[in-house]
């Protein structure tokens, strides 16, 4: 039976590491764990600070999803073991070991809500550990030591102290019978909460002081499931002890059900659209362009954020003009979206601006994305880009401010040291191929970022540095998506050489020709027969019935004309 927890750990590892790597990326990129006493002291300033600190320590390793999956599955199994060890105090039979993983399954499913902070499972693990440590004290006088332990537990794990309190009371009752002391314990913890609320945490609402300031990313929301899972952790050890011993077969059935319920329920409870966007964001962050495209072929983007990631990947692989209308599009917003007041949506836009050479916009989107992190954490991903922009703008002192922060991390420190060396010897910046490219791409002085004239701004980028083909792709895409036909034709006439014209551009030019001439006779040679034939067919079907479903299907459904005529 000893292998059963290992099986469960492997299932958790595989489910997360291979199917939801973006879950780790999401958690990692909205925090910045710093080594050093100052950061620890900062975290310990609020109740539940230790849980927060340790969870952030753990989450920094999510930078590598497989490492994150190993740690995550380890933590889950650890919580199961801790529950089991408590169940043993209540004389549970070992044949029901797997039942101690039931709260863990619930917890894992609850964590499918990407905004559940890791400090919640960490606080549960700590509260269970504290309870077992408390039980190591064999002297009955330990019940009086509780008056010291309770405030400490509250300060270190916040809301988790309720689990500790409930379980230690249950253990003491089991061992020593009923006393009046639990009433005093409850009185003490309530007093501590009020004392904290009126002194060191007087800016915090009491609901946060009770339910935890860092257990859910948005403090205004305290999901009911948090209480359900907490309750399950408290009641499982004594409940298991009430179930009679069973045979091996039943134990294996219990194990199989508990192990299988997780992957089955994950597919149901993890929001598909949310995780699609998180996946695109993750792949864009690590420049896995081909994977972005492959993913979008199976899961077409449904909003501006998804389109931004897809279009960036297409542009980075030189396919934007060729393939952009094979996928749903969201207008200009799917190229460089306006800032929305959330921490997720503009990370990809910032990356698009980075590769285009719009580096002040990189700064803006990264600053705003960081400022939108609702629990006011910093982000390693965003901080790195901020430092990079200041360095490229020649503000080395300011870049150093952010570099010094990143130097206190594990995974950003190597980059920070390289950047620091460049700040000290600015002439070496151009030795980095990407930075050299950006410095060539970036616009000269006095250029305003313009949403209304995005195509012109992008064309200016291209004209400033014709090597910047991505800017040209984006400018032409912008005209196509916004239906700016005249600007598109002008831009085409100025920029296209004798090379084959990408498919989307051909489609647009053929479309314009048809609009102007009313026929596709004498279509210029640079428009391929395939495009001509397809437009002929599209036009025929459209003229018969504008809502003909065939217009949306097959190759016709993946054309510029389809995008232009809409539904």
């Amino acid at each position: 039976m000893k292998f059963l927890p290992a099986v469960f750990a492997v299932i958790v590892f595989v489910c997360y590491g291979f199917f939801y790597p973006e879950w780790f990326n999401y958690h990692e990129q909205y925090q910045l764990f710093l080594f050093g006493g100052e950061y620890l002291a900062e975290k310990l300033k609020v109740a539940s600070g230790l849980a927060g600190y340790l969870s952030e320590f753990l989450v920094q390793f999510y930078f590598f999803p497989l490492l994150g999956a190993a740690l995550w599955s380890g933590l889950m199994v650890l919580i199961g073991f801790l529950i089991w060890n408590l169940a043993k105090i209540f004389a549970a039979d070992k044949s029901h070991f797997m039942l101690s993983l039931l709260p863990v399954v619930l917890l894992t499913l609850y964590c499918g809500d990407q905004n559940v902070m890791m400090s919640f499972p960490m606080a549960l693990a700590l509260s269970l550990s504290f309870t077992l440590l408390y039980d190591k004290i064999s002297d009955k006088k330990r019940v009086y030591l509780q008056f010291v332990f309770i405030p400490i537990a509250y300060w270190l794990i916040g809301y988790g102290a309720f689990v500790y309190l409930a379980l230690t009371i249950a253990v003491d009752i089991k061992k020593y019978g009923y006393t009046f002391l639990p009433i005093l314990y409850v009185f003490e913890i309530v007093s501590v909460i009020f004392a904290v609320g009126y002194t060191v945490m007087k800016q915090y609402p009491f609901i946060d002081i009770v339910c935890g300031v860092n257990f859910y990313r948005d403090r205004l929301t305290i999901p009911f499931m948090q209480h359900i899972i907490t309750l399950s952790v408290v009641i499982t050890p004594p409940l298991i002890s009430l179930i009679k011993k069973v045979g091996k077969v039943v134990t294996i059935v219990e194990a199989a059900v508990i192990s299988l319920i997780l992957p089955l329920m994950m597919t149901k409870t993890y929001d598909k659209i949310t995780y699609s966007l998180l996946k695109i964001d993750y792949l864009v962050r690590f420049q896995e362009w081909d994977d972005v495209i492959k993913f979008c072929e199976k899961n077409p983007p449904t909003n501006a954020m998804g389109c931004t990631g897809l279009n960036l990947a297409l542009a980075m692989t030189g396919q934007l003009g060729e393939r952009m209308f094979e996928f749903p599009q969201c207008g200009q917003e799917g190229l460089i979206s306006r800032f929305e007041r959330n921490m997720v949506s503009c990370g990809i836009t910032a990356e698009a601006c980075y590769y285009l050479g719009l580096i002040n916009s990189v700064l803006r989107y990264n600053y705003d994305s960081q400022a939108a992190i609702v629990n006011c954490n910093m982000s390693g991903r965003f901080t790195r880009r901020i430092a990079e922009v200041y360095m490229l703008n020649g503000n080395y002192e300011l870049a150093q401010k952010y570099i010094d922060i990143l130097k206190k991390t594990v995974f950003y420190a190597p980059w920070a040291k390289k950047a620091e060396a460049c700040c000290q010897r600015p002439e070496t910046i151009t030795q980095n191929k990407r930075w050299a490219t950006i410095l060539r791409y970036r616009l000269p002085e006095n250029e305003l970022f313009s949403v209304s004239d995005m195509d012109m701004m992008l064309m200016n980028l291209y004209k400033h540095c014709p090597e910047n083909k991505m800017a040209l792709q984006y400018s032409l895409a912008c005209d196509l998506l916004e239906g700016k036909m005249r600007q598109f034709v002008d831009a085409m006439s100025q920029t296209q050489s004798n090379q084959r014209i990408p498919k989307s551009y051909q489609e647009a030019l053929a479309w314009i020709y048809l609009q102007q001439k009313g026929t596709l006779e004498n279509l210029p040679d640079f428009i391929s027969p395939e495009v001509k034939n397809a437009l002929t067919e599209f036009d025929r079907l459209y003229m018969i019935n504008r809502k003909n479903p065939l217009l949306k299907q097959g190759s016709l459904g993946k054309t510029y004309w389809r995008y232009m005529v809409g539904e």
Partner: protein
């Protein structure tokens, strides 16, 4: 007792490293912040400083009248009580600061520099300001804070932990009096908080007759009225190595809010097709100064936005705004733009910001502070305090002998606070950066910017939980409208 304390302190200090084989130089030490030649008030927090590249420093601060304190360590870290005593003893005199610094294992002695102690008091408790993490369109890490200027203690008046997700700005007290202040909450639960002698009310200041909520505020000396501008604020962004953002109005008007009747008082002269902004009352409360510009709607024309300084009369007894607006300074004719007028409370001067264009000089490196003598109408740049970077958002102390302002001189990005003396002769002393315990470390690590600083006579008291409950309740007093 104080002597004993001093002896004890000297003993403690003498336990550290002692300079040996000192190489005396004839140059001033390179220190951060630059406190060389600054003018400070008695009892200000110690002007601790760091010496560039120094591993260890020995600093001797000697008063020109009497007193001397020593400090040793990685940076000059003066004892607060001894420092206060030294400034008290030398009011009207100066402190000569001798620095000996160990660099690369060798000791160097530097030419002493001086810190001047003014006899003009700065008896205020401290400063209030908004501290905000960098962001362009969204802010989560934000708060209104107060800082005891006699120590290094800082306290939140209200911060993001109390009002998560809400933007807050423009904490404005009436002439540094914390018993009467207002501040705005923006976003989903928008309101204007007015607290008078501990009583709060939350106002909804947008009406059918006005274009926006009340924004930039300034109290009438009587405390009954508050002048506001209403601004439809917009932003655009530079793709530039030195400029990042431009803040401008798409429309703006000015008005007066009667705090007793909760009514806004509208005047057609402050609600024209032009843009009116930053209205403030004169020291006697009989005049409203404000800034006005021709309207430009397009971000491409922002460099044409230039604001003049105007004045219009105000009758406190009737709450009536005058019938004639006068242009005091035609800044637009000079190719300049005036913002943030701030009359001194003694009625003698008016300080303002001037930049090449724009209503928001904070992002303009060329923005400087200017001072106008209200008796003569003469203006001049305050060269004593200006730098090559933006200076803006200034406010006076109650006795009009000190002022605090924002400057970006430190790194062109973080707005930090500086305090300067303003003499009876109309000249300012060299400003000093807001003291910190370990300034180099503090300011290097600081990500936030300071906004809208002002002095506060006493510590501000706000029942934060009650305030948060009221904010989230969305119960507001809708202001009425009175036409001039």
């Amino acid at each position: 007792m104080k002597k004993l304390l001093f002896i004890f302190f000297v003993l403690i200090v003498s336990c550290g490293q002692n300079p040996e084989n000192v190489v005396n130089t004839d140059v001033l030490p390179s220190i951060f912040p630059d406190y060389k030649g600054v003018t400070i008030p008695v009892n200000i927090a110690p002007l601790n400083f760091n010496v560039d590249s120094a591993e260890y420093v020995c600093v001797d601060a000697k008063g020109s009248i009497s007193g001397e304190i020593l400090t040793k360590g990685e940076w000059a870290d003066f004892d607060i009580d001894l420092w206060h005593e030294l400034t008290q003893k030398n009011a009207g005199g100066k402190i000569s600061v001798s620095v000996t610094a160990k660099k690369d294992g060798k000791w160097f002695g530097y030419k002493p520099f001086e810190i001047f102690i003014s006899t003009d008091s700065l008896s205020e408790y401290g400063l209030t300001y908004r501290r905000i993490a960098p962001g362009y369109e969204t802010f989560s890490n934000i708060g209104i804070f107060q800082r005891d200027i006699h120590t290094f203690d800082e306290f939140a008046i209200v911060d993001h932990t109390a009002l998560q997700g809400e933007c807050m700005n423009c904490h404005v007290a009436n002439r540094c009096d914390p018993s009467r202040f207002q501040l705005h909450i923006r976003g989903q639960h928008a309101a204007t908080l007015v607290q008078t002698n501990g009583k709060r009310k939350l106002l909804q200041t947008k009406t059918d007759s006005t274009i926006a909520n009340c924004m930039y505020a300034y109290w009438h000396p009587s405390g009954r009225y508050c002048a506001y501008s209403l601004n439809l604020i917009n932003q655009c962004f530079w793709e530039d190595t030195t400029r990042y953002i431009e803040v401008f109005d798409r429309a703006s008007d000015a008005l007066v809010l009667d705090m007793e009747k909760d009514e806004i008082i509208l005047s057609p002269l402050l609600k024209t097709k032009d843009f009116e902004s930053y209205p403030v009352f004169s020291a006697d409360g009989k005049t409203i100064y404000y800034c006005t510009s021709k309207p430009y709607m397009d971000s491409g024309e922002i460099t044409k936005m230039r604001y003049d300084l105007c004045a219009i009369s105000f009758d406190e007894s009737t709450g009536r705004i005058g019938d004639y607006a006068d242009t005091i300074i035609h800044a637009s004719k000079m190719g300049k733009s005036i913002t943030h007028p701030r009359p001194s409370y003694d009625g003698k001067y008016l300080m303002y910001s001037m930049a090449d264009y724009s209503v928001f000089p904070i992002h303009h490196p060329e923005a400087d502070l200017y001072i106008m003598n209200l008796a003569t109408g003469e203006s001049r740049p305050l060269d004593e305090v200006n730098s090559k970077r933006a200076e803006s958002f200034h406010n006076w102390s109650r006795n009009s002998r000190w002022f605090v302002f924002n400057s970006r001189r430190y790194n062109n990005t973080n707005n930090l606070l500086y305090i300067a003396h303003f003499g009876a002769d109309g000249k300012a002393g060299k400003p000093f950066m807001l003291p910190q315990k370990n300034p180099r470390e503090y300011y290097h690590k600081l990500i936030h910017s300071y906004n809208v600083p002002d002095f506060t006579a006493e510590k501000v008291d706000l029942d934060i939980r009650a305030f948060a409950r009221e904010i989230f309740s969305d119960e507001r007093i809708q202001v009425g409208v009175r036409r001039n």
